[in-house]
Structure formats: structure tokens, C-alpha cells
Symmetry: C2
Subunit: 258 residues, 2 copies
């Protein structure tokens, strides 16, 4: 199984604190050493860094930690291979363009009985995860002519996740511009940091940060992770089969959004 | 106008020497300071590093120089913006998946009168260059059901380049797995380094390397660049409208390839 990390914010924010704890699970505090990747949405495009090396010791991870890219939407993944060998083509996050927008995806779990050849979207590597992304995007492309309203997008995403979950464990993050869709099959937690900000302490390293010193009063940041990344904050566990949509650093119900 | 750099090899090779000269044209020895990017094909997938900052001073470029990724096919680009603002979405190389393979593209020139809304493939940013990639891939997707033989691929690529060149200057590199297709409209040069190897000296910096010390007898590396990167080697200029295909570090004629 793998580990997921997502961040969604109302202003561009760097993820170095959360990433520092997260990357240690890639071969140091946990056994997810079969590559890792991180995708940042910056203004109008995604920038993705991938490495088939363990994140705890990856030179690319050292670079990402030292170069604080500010982003409103981030998806990161560290891999424990189940389907597919350790290689660049099998390293999450995966990405595809649809309707002139880039869709970025990472999966935790194992769809043991799932196999999808793809229609318009086909796998480059040979993971169940990339096939799942192709399945979701093929479904969206067949159902809509252009990017749908968020409520319709969430509904179709939810239907796809339900179908995929019948094949095994399917926790996932799907990003498009500043929107982050998530689905929980077994393990996914989130929290929203907003004023009044406090001190957060990493669960995987004796490192803490006082967010009150690094934030403006209106900043809002949602963090989504397989397991809570801090040991002194209140994380909310998503339920089995639950879908959530984050935008501007908060969880929203698109059906009721203005 | 921009600058292009391609490398195609028969064994995984690092591009640090050529990249060191090339990156200096991004804001130091030349005026191409509107972002840059580099894509490496590694075994089975492409890894792309992008930065909207000038390559001469970019932290990502510092990292790429210090972390010698070995690759059999590389496409790099430094940008002087003509169409589209300076942004991540407008930073080359661009990439798309078609038939389960990733296609990576960079363009030098200006298609002043070209505008393409896209069909299956649509632009994420707003450059003529990304629209040109969408045009080429839409044409391939409409003409073939799967990746064609190299001769047919080169022929369709050539037809597309001819059509695009009627709108302006169109020097470009298109990579797919270990294959590198290039089209020259005005400026594109190449050389093939193979045994006996000698000392090469950069045109943009007083740096030289003795390739005899860093190569095996069977290594073969083709370098393709807008302008020659070294001042003591014999570069071949491609002609106006000329297409070339490189594989395993040499220029091949796919119609006659076994």
C-alpha cells in the first residue's frame, strides 16, 4: 500500500512542513520505498516531480524540500508497489489532458481484480492505478462535452470510485486546477488550518512549526493524508465510500455551492 | 524566438555538458529568459522539469545540472515569449499521451497566423506551440489506430510540419520513447559523437570535456540544437523544410530501416 498527501489552499502556500514528515514514510519511518512523486498546481499549470528512488533519500525530494514552491493545490504520493514494477512510468501522480485542462491523480490501495485497456485514455505504465485514472477520464469524456459543473463532476467521480472500489481498495486524490477531489476506501484523513493558527508537530519527526508566524489571518489550508501527519491536531477520518471536494482550502458541497 | 536542444543516444547518457552551455543562453549569453524546460526519457517514461524562471539563474536548472539523469532521449527548450505570457502552462516541453505512449514536444519559431482550437487534444496554455502539438497529435489520432511504423510516422509528421510552416517559423523536436523527430524551418543543427571520441569545447562558456575519458567504444550520441553548442566540432545544418528522425544516437531513414 502507498501513502497519499494532498494540500488545497485559498492562497499559494508551500508544503515543505507536511512534505518533510510525509517523505520520511518513504523508506525511513515506514516502508513505502518504491518511488514517489509530487504535483503542484501553480497559477495555470501543474508541475510534477517524480523519482523512482525512495523519497526519504531521493535527491529530487531534497530539492523539493529546499525549493519551497507555492501552490494552491498539491498531490503527493509515495509508493509501495503492488501492481507493476518500480519504474518512472509506474510512479504516481499520473496526469492527462482533457478539455484543455490537466488532471492529476494518485492512488493508494490495490485493485486486485481490475484491468482496463482504455479507450481515449490508455496506460503508459502497467499499474492498476493509472488504469483507474484512464477509466475515470474515459467516463467523464463520454458523459460530458466540456468540464462539467462541480456537482456533476463530483457525482460522476463518485460513481467511478464506487465501481472501482468493487475491485479492491481505492483511496485516491484527483486534482484539476484548484479543485481537489478525494475518495476514501479505507484510510484518508483531513484537517483545515485557519485562524487562529497554532503550533503543529510532525508525527514522523521531532519538527514543529508555529503557523501563526507564517500565515495571514485569512489563509486557509486543507491537508489530506492517508494517516495524520501531525500528532497534536484534530484530524477528521473520512468514511468508507466517502467522497469529498476541496476548493480554496475548505471542503465544499458542490451541489450547494454558489 | 527560442532555443531547442535534443539528445538521442544508444545508451543512457547524461546531458550535463551540453545543458551547461545551453542554459546560459537563457538570460546570460543570449536573451531567452522567459522560462525553460527539459524532458528525459528514462527506460519507460518521461520525466519533465519546468521552470518559468530564466534557465541561467533557475534553481531547477541548478538541480538538473547537479543531478546527472541518464537518458536515451532528451528534449530541452529555453523560451523567448512570442505568443502567450510567461507562465508554467506556456513552458515547453509540452506532453500528451496517445496510444499509451507519451509524446513530448518543443518548438522554436512563431506561427503568427496559426490558431487551432483542438479536437481530441486541446491546449492548456495559450501558445501557438502547444496548439501545434495538438494539431499534430489530432492528425496522427485521426489517421492511425495505433502507433504506426516509423516510416508512416515520419511521413505524417512531415505533412503536419509542412502545413504548420505555412503559418510561420516552425523548428521543432518531437519525442516518443527512444525516437526523436525533428523539423527544421530556419535553424537546426546536429552532430553525432561516436568513436574515436575527442575533446569538445562549449561555445557559450570556457568549458571543455574529453569524451574519450567518459565513453565506451560503442557509445553513440546525437545532439540537435538551434545553434551549434560547441566551437570545435563539425555540426551539420538541416535545410529548410527538412525532417530528420533519430534513434539509437544516429539519424535514420525510417523508410529503409529494418
Amino acid at each position: 500500500m502507498c501513502q497519499l498527501l494532498g494540500m488545497n489552499c485559498n492562497v499559494p502556500t508551500d508544503i515543505t512542513f507536511s512534505f518533510e514528515g510525509f517523505r520520511r514514510r518513504g523508506g525511513q519511518t515506514d516502508q513505502h520505498a518504491d518511488g514517489w512523486g509530487i504535483a503542484f498546481f501553480e497559477t495555470d499549470g501543474w508541475r510534477v516531480f517524480l523519482d523512482p528512488l525512495p523519497s526519504a533519500t531521493s535527491p529530487v525530494a531534497d530539492f523539493v524540500r529546499s525549493y519551497p514552491i507555492k501552490s494552491r493545490n498539491v498531490i503527493a504520493h509515495i509508493r509501495k508497489a503492488t501492481h507493476g514494477e518500480i519504474s518512472l512510468a509506474n510512479t504516481h501522480p499520473f496526469r492527462r489532458e482533457l478539455w484543455g485542462q490537466e488532471w492529476v491523480f494518485a492512488h493508494n490501495g490495490n485493485l486486485a481484480s481490475f484491468s482496463y485497456a482504455g479507450q481515449r485514455f490508455m496506460s503508459i505504465g502497467n499499474t492498476d492505478s493509472e488504469q483507474a485514472l484512464c477509466f475515470i477520464l474515459d467516463r467523464l469524456a463520454s458523459k460530458f462535452q466540456r468540464t462539467p459543473e462541480l456537482a456533476a463532476l463530483e457525482e460522476t467521480f463518485s460513481e467511478c470510485c464506487q465501481a472501482l472500489s468493487s475491485h479492491g481498495t481505492f483511496n485516491c486524490l484527483l486534482g484539476m486546477n484548484d479543485v481537489l477531489l478525494v475518495h476514501c476506501s479505507t484510510d484518508l484523513h483531513y484537517l483545515v488550518r485557519q485562524a487562529p493558527f497554532s503550533i503543529a508537530h510532525l508525527a514522523d519527526a521531532d519538527i514543529q512549526v508555529d503557523f501563526a508566524k507564517h500565515t495571514a489571518p485569512r489563509d486557509r489550508v486543507a491537508i489530506i493524508a492517508t494517516q495524520p501527519l501531525t500528532d497534536n491536531e484534530q484530524w477528521t477520518a473520512l468514511g468508507k465510500g466517502e467522497v469529498a471536494l476541496f476548493r480554496n482550502g475548505e471542503r465544499i458541497s458542490p451541489a450547494h455551492a454558489s
